[in-house]
């Protein structure tokens, strides 16, 4: 078997998702090549050559690939695809963008967001926001896969000695152009990247009261989330929503404050390592998934919790 891993990087360094993708490739077994497509990314290629378990790094360094436009990345991968049995990308904004395009151009199915490898053609993946796990088998000659970032431990970034091959393919599909980006320098971590999240629900009563959570979040280095009920009530914007129709998160610590635990919220956070629930209703469903439950008025308990963190 021969596997092509498409690296996630920012033209300066490889992203941790790349190491996770290589780990998934190792679980399948076979030769592993890594593609670095980007602009001014020669150093990323050299860095990727050190990743444990990689045979060859292919570097496509061209302005066409600098912003990972799906049309151009997909055309490039199709050019390189001959001979590979598996093509692997990450379940990230860019991987989710170009991987299905690659699969369709190859006339094969994609298996999205795999969380387990059973054999070279059989994989486990979450469906219904993780409320069920499907074991699926592909009948296609090339398996196109995206890998759930939290499902595999990344391989070591050092210890490998892959060869580096520079390729000179530069084909502009001419369909889209990058205009600008607005990558927020958040004072707090992104919800999907945070190791601690504190979320508020309808029990917060209004948007101003979310300030109670901010102080705790600052002390724990946490991101702030919300339930759909809190978003629907207009307390906070939609991009804070954790749940089946919002962001799916799995931090080390998830603190649910004034959240009853509707199914659609649980679907978005129940893979968190430790879950804390603070709610005055002892029958709230959130307590069924919580490791630590505190039946209390959040307006008393949260300031007390905050004070104890000093």
């Amino acid at each position: 078997m021969s596997i092509l891993v498409i690296a996630e990087h920012n033209n300066a360094a490889v992203n941790a998702a790349t190491l996770v993708n290589v780990a998934a490739a190792q679980a399948i077994g076979g030769d592993i090549d890594v593609l670095i497509a980007g602009e001014g990314c020669a150093e990323v290629g050299a860095e990727a050559a050190n990743i444990a378990g990689v045979s060859k790094v292919v570097v496509a360094d061209n302005a066409l690939y600098g912003h990972q436009l799906a049309e151009n990345i997909a055309d490039l991968v199709i050019e390189l695809s001959a001979g590979y049995t598996h093509i692997i990308g990450a379940t990230t904004a860019s991987g989710k963008n170009y991987m299905p395009r690659i699969a369709a151009l190859l006339d094969v199915a994609q298996i999205s967001d795999i969380c387990g490898v059973i054999s070279e053609d059989t994989f486990e993946r979450p469906i219904y926001a993780g409320n069920a796990i499907a074991t699926v088998q592909s009948s296609d000659s090339i398996k196109v896969l995206t890998v759930r970032g939290t499902a595999f431990d990344g391989v070591a970034a050092e210890g490998g000695s892959a060869t580096v091959e520079n390729i000179d393919i530069a084909k502009d599909a001419g369909l889209s152009t990058w205009v600008r980006e607005d990558i927020v320098k958040l004072e707090r971590p992104e919800l999907t990247a945070a190791s601690v999240i504190i979320s508020g629900g309808r029990g917060m009563q209004n948007g101003e009261n979310f300030a109670l959570l901010e102080s705790v979040a600052d002390k724990l280095g946490a991101a702030i989330g919300a339930s759909r009920a809190a978003v629907d009530a207009g307390f906070v914007p939609n991009d804070m929503q954790v749940g089946q129709t919002g962001k799916i998160v799995a931090p080390d610590l998830y603190i649910a404050v004034g959240i009853s635990g509707a199914i659609q919220h649980l679907a978005g956070m129940k893979d968190s390592k430790t879950i804390v629930a603070i709610n005055k209703d002892e029958d709230a469903p959130i307590f069924q998934v919580a490791d630590y439950g505190l039946v209390a008025d959040l307006f008393k308990a949260v300031p007390e919790f905050d004070a104890l963190l000093d």
Binding site: N97, L105, S176
Partner: protein
């Protein structure tokens, strides 16, 4: 210009799904079905573009059994002008759905196809990108703002990891919706009544010359690992102590 939008029939987001005891799938008997929430956003966006005078006709497409007619009627009540039901009993996977769309694009010649970024049943997140690939069109996925320009392009703001990205795409283009694009309206009673009179065409995949044979076989479906039962703490002090010394998640 014409816009195609999607209305996938899925288990309602408020329903707690149950895995069948023979592990063959998820129990869909007597379960409330709705339009995929991300498709609702797609329908809303197309209707708003029509209200803004940028679009003349909004055509809603649903693919599946005859029951998908319900989701088409919902979309028509929300403001779509006519419907297309591609009726099949086959397990429709993203690649096959994308092939159906390719055929419909050739037939209808829309300037834009707006789809949900993913459906909340299979969570594949593939269809829009596959439609774009097969039709040789630009794609703008995870859109949080769509501006249609006068020069046959659209400027789309995309939700990416860590922020937003703005790209310009040539029309016709494929757009997939993210949560922040808009907040879908509710259908009014008069509009629900009016929707009953709007036209819906029905085709089979064969009519469209599309091979929809599944490429991926589901061997089994199992419930996820259960969480071990937790404990109720009595005080905030006890909670902080547990988090520091037992779970070791705060220092």
């Amino acid at each position: 210009m014409k816009v195609l939008v999607t209305a996938k029939r899925v288990v309602d987001y408020n329903v707690s799904i149950r895995v069948l005891s023979d592990n063959s799938g998820v129990d869909l008997n007597n379960v409330k079905m709705s339009v995929n929430p991300f498709d609702e956003i797609a329908i809303e966006e197309a209707v708003r573009l029509k209200e803004a005078g940028k679009v003349e006709e909004v055509i809603v497409v649903s693919i599946g059994t005859s029951a998908c007619g319900e989701q088409i009627r919902t979309a028509l009540a929300l403001g779509a002008d006519r419907g297309i039901l591609v009726e099949t009993e086959e397990d429709m996977q993203p690649l096959a759905i994308a092939k159906v769309f390719k055929a419909l694009i050739e037939k209808e010649q829309p300037k834009m196809v707006i789809l949900g970024k993913q459906a909340i049943d299979g969570d594949n997140g593939q269809t829009g990108q596959m439609v774009a690939a097969l039709s040789g069109l630009a794609q703008a996925t995870f859109a949080s703002e769509v501006v249609v320009n006068d020069d046959d392009t659209a400027t789309v703001t995309r939700e990416v990891d860590g922020g937003l990205e703005v790209i310009s795409v040539k029309l016709p283009a494929i757009i997939t919706t993210d949560l922040r694009l808009n907040e879908p309206r509710y259908a009014s009673l008069p509009n629900i009544m009016k929707a009953k009179k709007k036209p819906v065409d029905t085709y089979s995949p064969e009519d469209l010359g599309v091979d929809v044979t599944p490429r991926v076989k589901t061997l089994k479906v199992t419930p996820p690992a259960e969480r071990a039962a937790g404990i109720i703490v009595e005080t905030v002090e006890e909670l902080v102590d547990k988090l520091k010394n037992e779970a070791k998640v705060i220092s």
